[in-house]
Amino acid sequence: MEISCKLLYNKLEIQDKLGDSMEPLRVGIDIGSTTIKVVVIDQQNKSLYQSYKRHLSSVSRSLKQLLEDLKSALGHQPMRFNFTGSAGLRLAKAMRAQFTQEVISATKGLRHYVEDIDVCIELGGEDAKIIFFDGLNIEQRMNGTCAGGTGAFIDQMASLLDTDAAGLNAMAAKHTQLYDIASRCGVFAKTDIQPLLNQGANKEDIAASIYQAIVNQTIAGLSQGRKIRGKVAFLGGPLTFSSELRKRFIDFLKLTDVFIPEHGEVFVAFGAALEAKAAPQTIDEVLKKILEYRKQYKDSLRKTMPPLFESDEEYQAFIARHRRAEVKRIPAKTYVGNAYLGIDAGSTTTKLLLISEDNEILYDYYAHNRGNPVRVVREALIEMYQTLGEGVQICQAYSTGYGENLIKHGFNLDGSEVETICHYEAAKYFNPDVSFVIDIGGQDMKCFKVENGVITSIVLNEACSSGCGSFIETFAESLGHPIERFAQMAIESKRPVDLGSRCTVFMNSSVKQAQSEAASSKDISAGLAMSVVKNALYKVIRAHDVKEEYGSEILVQGGTFQNDAILRAFEKETNIEVTRPSIAGLMGAFGAALLAKKHHRNQPSTLLKTHELQQFNYQTKRATCHQCLNLCALTINIFNDHQRFISGNRCEKGAGIKVSYEDVPNLYLYKYDKIMTYEHQDRPYAKTVGLPLVMNMYENVPFWYAFFDTLKVNVVLSGRSNKNLYERGQDTIPSDTICYPAKLVHGHIEALFEKDIDFIFYPNMPFNFVEKSYANNHYNCPVVAHYPEVVEANMDHLDMARFFQPYLSLNDQNRFVNTMHKLLKDVLPTSKSQLRKAFKRGVEEYYAFRKDIQTYGEFALEYGQTHQLNSIVLAGRPYHVDPEINHGIPKMIRSLNVVVLSEDAINHLVDTPSVNVLNQWTYHTRLYDVAKLIKSYPNMSLVQLVSFGCGLDAITSDEVKRLLEEDRQLYTQIKIDEISNLGAVNIRLRSLLSTMGGR
């Protein structure tokens, strides 16, 4: 839908209508982040003219065109103009024109049409809004920064599925099931969708799940405790054009009364027209002002950076320098001898490379998955066989990348290898002394450091930095440029715009701002290249000086680095001349091929032959694994009607494999089971207290169990977390950027109220037990400490009289007893001496619990040593034992036959009094302590679990890393949120294990 211009009456009719009126027409112009809408209305508020256009890169140019169209329809008569929309703000201010904020315009428009609207949901290209009408009291909300870019997100997802917005809607209509897709933001959602695509999930289901993610995001981010019910209006482009998105909203919110205006896409412009009060102007006068604005902003763009190349000579030298790292190609038709195949089934692209005995390229292939990697590999293989001469014998074929197992099973390859190992193999080929390899692919970034021929540290991006590469590509496409052309534009840029580097959602917003400031596409392209590089350097690698920390023998690779602008930006920012192999995008496949050659057994590969490929038949089915409570959503790939390959499973059970290492100790599973026992199943007493099993309750529940048991009160826990429980509480979450463990609290409280309990007990606890005397303090994090306040303030649809949230510390018996005495006096009159007794028993039970965990921790340590198994200290917080929070990662590690320890099970074995930060949070003190234990045990490594949004871990992760590196140990971090990309976690852990040795 490039442009839709609609004249509701013909010119004569309009002139006719105008004839008898002196009152000028009113024009509403809505300039959103991706589109411009114009509506003209007459005295009776009747719409005479409307148009809708995507403004692509230039707001002012598109606006000019729209106004000229309008002029040819309506002529020179003066009209009242009113602007609205996020991108119109600056323009209108600069022109000194009337401006009405878009939510106000929407409200105005709605009020005009219908009186009894309760809620309005408007989704735009960049912002999402909800308006609650409650008599005269109107509450308007807009999404937070993280949740930006709804419309832009739909476009990107559509292009990921190889279609457009309309196609996505058509696909979604045919869905049969929904997947859980992260709803925190577009980047997280994409991180979930990629692996689904790679696993071969149905596009129809993915399309509908994308819409569901938007629904969840809108509700979790914007309802904030207010119920969306009654008569609901849908506004904005996405909701107007996508019937399936509306359907998802209607189904999920169980709506019965919905208002969809006839021209929802221009509705806000209509509202603005209603509000137009400015002195009448002719279109020519307005056009003149727009031109002035354009000129003015061209000169005053503030956030610009130096160009990528100062001169053409510089550019030519750069091109010449990078021509060096090439791999020879020889014709495959005439080659006689052994050949080795590498297939890299990456997140967005599939790469194939066939090499000769002398490492020359016989055949190479690079293509987008287009949502179906299996199909792509099949086509590539057929094509490959056609190009090969008689004398070529494929001896061995290896796969790597996200889809390595799927491809290996589907096409009968001889082996597979973790991608980092493949990349190192390939990098060595170009530079045997390589000290650092950085790979930026479409979705992921990986880098690793090499010391003495061994990979010593692997850094993979976490979700926030995902998708930078493919973002540039889809963005270029949305502007109508192929990526090569877009990269070339960056090189010509004179003043790159600074677009920030937090993530692609933020970058997208910044691009919109730059566009509304009339920045050129060239400058935006160069700015994006810089942003991607800065994201890699400062967020992923976390290096302030790459040369000093990683040496100067750097090899860059991955599809994204084929963009010269990005390569240049990287060299400029680091001040190092790097090597970029000519096959930068094929390095994984090249490495796999080299490894295939290394491991070949002098016999033909089992790889499917041409005729087998011709008959190749492939289907997918979906199932849910019910072997445990993780309820993995499985994708069953069926090849040739009988061979099955299952993906989506966390452990071997889901794949139908018999388990052989049940008895390998896993502290996370042990602890979780233990915690679950602190409950009175049979309720022997008269009164019952409900404890939400959230946050620090995972640490303190033994105390509370014994405490209440002594007072003869049943303890009932809220139960196990799951997605469903989360969704039940999501509409009362006030802050969308808070961590997932905190968001889960809402669901647990809802669950507790449904259990037959007398009161809920959830104390505010700013302090913990004093555990180590050298710590500066023993705080809880702000969210852990005071979340009960948030519950009380936001869940008032529940009976808050039964919700007890005292302020307590367990360090001082007397104060504790006094507070509890006062608190419980109505519901549970108890003497102080009884409370004292209960307190003592609580403390005893707490320490007994800790002792038990510690004993098991020591046993696990010992077990790892005597059985010579790798051990991983999965260091996080007490609440990370919740499988809904850790996403079954402990189980996944166990399936790799590794002992899993938790930080609180072994921190008593070591003291780390000297740290470089203020050591004031008890749970973090444990992290610092265990970091210093790692070096004492061979085959042990630390993996830190970090919840997204945990502000404190910005401090702890750096310090834990420093402590480990001091002892020459590896640091690995896994970021988790509502949903975690287990594919990436798997790659990360396997890469880590491959560097650890052990059995």
Partner: protein, 428 residues
Amino acid sequence: MAELVYHDNRLLFTEEMRQEYTILVPQMAPYHFTYFVDAFTSEGYKAELLTTDDYELIHEGMKYSHNDICVPAMLVIGQFIDAIKKQGLNAKKVALVITQTGGGCRASNYIALLRKALEKAGYSEVPVISLNAGGLEKNPGFRVTPRVLHKLHDAMLFGDLIMTLVNQTRPYEVNLGETNAVKADIDKALQGYFKHRRLFSWKRHKKMSQKIIERFSEISVDRSTPKPKVGIVGEIYVKYSPLGNNHLETTLEKEGCEVITPPLYDFFIYSFDSRAYDIKMYGGSKKEWLVLKLAIWYIEVRRQKLRKMLEKAHYAPGISYKKIRSLVDGIIDVGTHIGEGWLLTAEMIDLIHHGAPNIVCTQPFGCLPNHIAGKGMFKKLKKHYPESNIVAIDYDTSASKINQLNRINLMVSNAFRQLEEKNHERKV
């Protein structure tokens, strides 16, 4: 050359350095920090306030700090490193000062982050001084003597006073620029004020304050068209620092609003009070408790006098700490004192009570305490005060300004609508 002395691996600021070094002070609250620097200079320190506002400094911050850390840390670190690199300062002759609040918020760790950043940037020989009330770190060359303390106290009072006066005058001034000119005059006069040798001179302070109020009263104003009042609350750095909040005060005034920024002193009193609260609730030294309570009492006596003076001159004087503390009864417990804690909620209620239900709640992206006392309380406030018109703005080095402006614009539009309705009611 001053010798580098270490204690527990920490580089100390020595007596010798006091003579030779320039202490760089990050700009946090423009109304107050100018006078803090004046106070220190008058005591023989060489101190310089960093007023750089160039967005380039953000890059230095990003380069040398963890990118998930909150924006105040990134900006302060960026401002320091940028200053050392670009302003031609001799890195061997400067020290940095940073406030350290203590408490469960990560802000207590800024100083550690700053040291790490300096080390990475190759400035490990630059001493970092902690300015704190809790005795967290001590330096032989930087002692907060009773006199320094009292000067800081005066500076704080002047800062709050002048901020109040400017905010209530500038939107209505007849001759554009007059308010700023008056403020510049007063700033100059205050430099002289701090040079005075005498210690506790309440009379002098009172006279100076009176003079300041008079000078502002002389500015010709036109208050016939009421302007919507908009309050700024939030995390302490982005609330006051124009660098942190993209010049929010100016933006709002340009939109035609009168800005109310609650006094900075409240935050400090709140910090003392929080410490006292913890001692009482969870244990600690009784003596410390008494000292804290006495300090609060003393400060409040002095502030009460100023409030009286303001009231007499027909300015909105603000309310006492005790009163503001009582506002959160039944809303949030005063035990919530991590970061800005309950004070943030209380300030919003105070603003609503005083005709400013229009509020920008500022926070760094991902600010932990604001999840609780800021965004976490909006719903409850809306319930108690349906007229509340609060917008939460996240500040981040990567956030797009237009998004912030658009949200502020929505809040301002509603403020104008509410004002119109009120005027209409009055006429009827």
